[in-house]
Symmetry: C2
Subunit: 100 residues, 2 copies
């Protein structure tokens, strides 16, 4: 089964990147307990002062989809949404390498 | 010291994505021996049939820069260049999360 990967850019509303980053890092901590989530790394954009990039790799697209209905995920999304101006996602298919 | 991260998109010349992918995966295998390279994951683009995305995280920008003069890196770059039509890089600053 193919892994699921994505680079997801969250553009925060002006001045809201820091609280949004905190929520994303909390979400990443909660995902430590979910083995299907293999990578969830929160990054600051090196180009856009309002943006965060999240690197995601899941064991499958189904596992990623199922995670969206986890209570902890729903709760984090509800807290994050008011801080978000836009979301873009670059889908990638992880093949191999160091750290996978 | 800040970690160094990037999403690097390599667009292969028509029909050359597979051999380019092989070279990238070999490079990733060689980087297993380089602790400063924390993540080097090779992905197929989920949008562009000629493109590969590499997710990179290094312990520092200096470590990343130094790696470019490693003989194995130079050799891989020399083999890959004829297969590459274009390169784009999205710089990111890794902050934390699962897999880092």
């Amino acid at each position: 089964m193919n892994k699921y990967g994505a680079y997801v850019k969250f553009t925060a509303k002006p001045g809201k990147r820091e609280p949004l980053t905190d929520i994303m890092l909390e979400a990443a901590a909660a995902l430590q307990a979910l083995p299907e989530c293999e990578i969830y790394i929160v990054n600051q954009s090196g180009q856009d002062p309002d943006a965060i990039w999240v690197t995601e790799i899941w064991s499958s697209a189904e596992a990623h989809q199922a995670s969206l209905s986890e209570p902890a995920t729903k709760e984090a999304i509800a807290r994050a949404m008011p801080l978000i101006a836009g979301v873009e996602s670059i889908p990638v298919l992880p093949l191999g390498g160091k750290g996978l």
